[in-house]
Amino acid sequence: MNVFKDAGHLFRLAAVFVAGLLIFLVIRGFLVPKSFGQFGHYRADAVTEIAARPIKFAGHESCEGCHADVLAKKKNGKHAGVNCEACHGPQAQHVDDPTSVKPDKLDTTVLCARCHEANAAKPRNFPQVDTEEHSTGLPCDTCHQPHSPVIVAGGAK
């Protein structure tokens, strides 16, 4: 047929395109991750992978399991709502291996000022001081017991 003879090159071209498409589909079958699309347009395994990341802060419940004495002192004081690691830093490793991994000693001069240094942007009724005037460079735990910081009449710790 004349048409087919003279349009032969176009049919060849179409064949090239179709071949390309088929090769693409085959490659796609191999390359798309298996869990992709299970829950949505993403790799479902990613959710598991993210959930399995290591934990650094153990959470206050873990601390309270062993350190019930500190909890007793803390729970009626002003720092009742301040969790242990808020001052002591991440301690999941310590919880996993309490005898070999010990928390660092804290420097109250630096630590306490983070919350209690006076700043106009802090809520008015939040306890804050100008540390230079208040303690003239002395570490805060000279007078205050950090787990129950309010100094009762008659002296501190």
Partner: protein
Amino acid sequence: MPGVDGFMYPNEIELQWSVLIVLYPFLTGLVAGAFILASLERVFQVEAVKPTYRLALLTALSFLLVAPLPLQLHLGHPERSYEMYLTPHRTSAMAMFGFVYLWYLMAVLVLEIWLDYRRQIVLLSQSSTGWKRATYSVMTLGSTNISERALAIDEKAGWLITVIGIPSAFLLHGYVGFIFGSIKANPWWSTPLMPVVFIFSAMVSGIALVVLLYMLISWARRQVIDMRCVDTVARYLFYIFMIDFSLEMLDLIHRIYEADESFRSLDFMVHSKLYLSHIVVQIALGTIAPIALLGLTQVAKLSDIARKRIYATTGCLTLMGIFAMRWNVVIGGQLFSKSFLGYTTYKMGLVAREGLLMAILLTILPFAILWVLVKVLPPWPEASSGSIPDAEPAR
């Protein structure tokens, strides 16, 4: 904080998209523009621009081949870029663009070039030797039919491809505009006008480039410049420039009038950080000056030499201006804080992966490719590298 005026969200201080992302819409814009010029002849029968037809197609191809490179260089994981074809996210303009690009490259541009050049390819596959012969033979796809009937079919098919190609070219660059225009988080980008402005500025830059190249190559080959051709092209450039300018003015006036919450921050940015690139380069030198010069050629009777000089100057100013426009959109959109309370600075590296040197290399590369294409698929048969038996002009 060095380089920051006022307040920026901490993660906003460093720019995300570099000069390479400025280059990318510039390159795809040239592609779309060059193609539209080519289609003027093919579909709209504007015979006068015929001498630029094949050159425009080859230019479009050179730039389209280079266009993905700035994107690859910018990605954090270029080796994963194939994922966009494997698992494209249908709500993402960027993902869909991967297919628009592929469509335009394979189903429009390569196809149209092949159909237009097929007779020449077949003849060259028969007349040349060695690896050149092999190359041309592959390009024929094994068919050597260049009978009248076959060529007539090619003509019809080519016409159809061009008709599909025009909206495809609009889609190609309009999509790039939409990639920016659909980001509601960024008020400098978020406007329905963005794709339209991108398309018209693309057309302006593409036409300017082809005119410049045509004049340059003709001068290099010591050929007489077809004045009727360049006059017609310049006229179209003028018309499209007017539309482009009107669209940009519309956007500007609308912003100034409505003065929404972003306006003050953006206004200050344009007058300070973007003063040089926006007011001076894009608007004054890149839009008003070319329009004035082209307007002059339309109303006054000027000599050939004068018109040639004006077209060359206009071409250069236009390209500079449209590059500045891309800069102002991409970089400008990242210089201000989304809190509208501050600005940052773009620290462009020099010899970095996304630095100035790379941008310059990527701008030169398409011309190198064009040089090769012109050798392999000569737009002017009488200057071809192989010997073509008959002197009949290919089209």
